[in-house]
């Protein structure tokens, strides 16, 4: 379905592209929506597409592609544990106003080989180029420490990832990348960005949105817990009373 759509788009857009002198990216995603259900243990998204070159001929040299999947931005507070009087406890904290809740970048070659540092920072390509907007006032040394802690924590939870060889390019025209989403991703609108990179320059970029939502029962529960707090609490209490009573009733007959 998606592939057919892409083909039609290609056919429709081809004449316009030939006229332009810059290549154009036609990206797509294996799923526009990810539903979190009771059995959700994570998902794999295939980000794929084609590069349409002016004249329809790919250049002789290798061009590179980087894809980024990015979750909604959240303001967060990062706390650091320190040993105080023999006990490990939260001692210091730092605020980040715009940390993405999910960030995965895949590229056909390591980012450092594709772009210089400044350009990579402009496009926020690579974990170390994320604009996290730390809360002001802290020493740069402390900020670096907290940033490293945040990146490390989320990398190990699978929320932040970097795959320097994650994009496969076929015939210089078709590309594909697989990005894995863990089960604890937050819901919201995600953006998938694709960058075409040639000789230290981003020559084309395209963006697609993906919705990640809780669906069915999970969505209902999460909403109920938020909106009808009293009713939700009562349901929990009644559930526990009912189950406790039922077990007692069943077992009284057996023993």
């Amino acid at each position: 379905m998606n592939r057919r759509l892409a083909a039609i788009l290609l056919a429709l857009l081809a004449p316009m592209m030939i006229a332009a002198d810059k290549p154009v990216l036609v990206p797509d995603i294996s799923a526009r929506q990810v539903q979190i259900r009771y059995s959700f243990t994570g998902a794999q998204l295939l980000l794929f597409g084609a590069v349409v070159y002016p004249g329809g001929r790919p250049p002789d040299r290798q061009v590179d592609i980087a894809v980024v999947l990015r979750g909604p931005v959240q303001p967060i507070l990062v706390r650091e544990k320190q040993k105080v009087a023999g006990i490990w406890m939260n001692a210091d904290s730092d605020r980040f106003r715009s940390a993405p809740s999910f960030y995965a970048v895949a590229s056909s070659r390591p980012i450092s080989e594709l772009l210089d540092e400044r350009t990579a920072a402009i496009y926020e390509l690579g974990l170390h180029n994320l604009q996290l907007s730390p809360g002001g006032g802290a020493l740069p040394e402390k900020e670096r420490r907290f940033e490293a802690g945040l990146l490390d924590l989320r990398s190990r939870h699978g929320l932040y990832s970097e795959n320097p060889h994650g994009v496969e390019i076929n015939g210089g025209v078709l590309y594909r990348a697989v990005i894995t989403i863990p089960s604890q991703v937050p819901v919201g609108t995600y953006t998938a960005e694709t960058f075409l990179i040639d000789r230290n320059k981003v020559i084309a970029a395209a963006t697609r949105d993906i919705q990640i939502n809780k669906s069915g029962f999970e969505r209902y529960v999460a909403l109920a817990a938020r909106r009808n707090r009293v009713l939700y609490g009562l349901t929990c209490v009644l559930l526990s009373l009912g189950l406790g009573w039922a077990a007692a009733a069943v077992f009284r007959r057996r023993f």
Partner: protein, 303 residues
């Protein structure tokens, strides 16, 4: 079999959680305690956020105590007046406790507070129970009993305004059970424990209640306060995960029944010794968790 928890926001192995509930249920049925003191730390070790673990464990305690309450009600082992006074104290305790919980949560000290309270309370109760059961089993010498010791604790006896509690056959100030209930309420909100293993000894030693009504009355109190705590948590912290609680309950209520059957086949003093050892082990594990360098130095809080 993985299942997604909508409030905790992660997937867990459903079978593992049900088994955990079952195990805790067996213990709670055997020892007449809510079992929250085991559920909460085990859930936290498993990777559930502490707040969700505490809130959902409170829900499980309600279910686990239902069958106990039913049995004791039928036998007339519940002092409703005493229970009522303690419940009132417990409700206030859970509301005040929730306020404190929020305060500590926003300053980032809640994990340490939960850990420290666990170590202190479990360590203290565990040592008390251990020495008690060792004495009863004859492994330890019993100190010469104090002469002329009154039935009530001196502090309790000095409180004003005395009421008669007919089912318990005691004449004490309602302030004492009220305070006891208050304390149990705070503990339930903070630690996700019913407070049974604190209430029972306190009712015997401090209030001088006869053993006949102690367990039943404490179970009624636990039932009411844990239900109230579930409400308080779902209104303030919104951390009760109904799927997690349901999984724990399914295992827990069945386990509690088996535990109750097992109790009749074991020596009560051995039972107490076993419980003391379990409590001390949990306390030790939590203490190690506080003292050892944690796996995660950094933690994230959403604003």
């Amino acid at each position: 079999m993985d299942i997604y928890l909508p409030i905790a926001g992660q997937s867990v192995n459903a079978l593992f959680i049900v088994l955990l509930g079952f195990l805790v249920g067996v213990l709670s049925g055997m020892f007449g305690v809510g079992g929250g003191f085991l559920t909460t730390p085990l859930l936290i070790f498993y990777g559930i956020p502490p707040t969700v673990a505490v809130a959902s464990a409170a829900t499980q305690i309600t279910g686990a105590s239902v069958s106990g309450v039913m049995v004791h009600m039928r036998r007339g082992g519940v002092d409703m007046k005493m229970g009522g006074v303690m419940i009132v104290g417990g409700l206030f305790g859970s509301i005040i406790g929730a306020g404190l919980f929020r305060l500590l949560q926003s300053s980032g000290r809640i994990d340490v507070a939960i850990g420290l309270l666990y170590v202190l309370i479990l360590g203290w109760i565990g040592v008390l129970m251990l020495t008690d059961s060792l004495k009863a089993l004859g492994y330890m010498k019993v100190a010469a009993p104090e002469q002329g010791r009154s039935r009530h604790n001196r502090w309790v006896a000095s409180l004003p305004l005395r009421w008669r509690f007919y089912s318990s056959g005691i004449y004490v100030s309602p302030v004492a059970p009220l305070a006891l209930g208050f304390l149990a309420g705070i503990l339930t909100v903070f630690l996700g424990i019913g407070g049974g293993f604190i209430l029972v000894p306190a009712m015997i030693y401090l209030l001088g209640m006869p053993a006949r009504v102690v367990v039943g009355t404490s179970l009624v109190m636990i039932l009411a306060v844990s239900a109230a705590t579930t409400m308080v948590h779902s209104i303030t912290t919104r951390a009760v995960d109904i799927v997690l609680a349901g999984l724990l309950l399914v295992g827990g209520v069945i386990g509690a029944q088996y535990g109750a059957v097992l109790t009749t086949r074991m020596k009560p003093d051995l039972l107490r010794l076993a419980l003391a050892v379990i409590i001390l082990l949990v306390a030790l594990r939590v203490a190690l968790g506080l003292a050892w360098r944690p796996d995660e130095i950094f933690s994230i809080e959403y604003l």
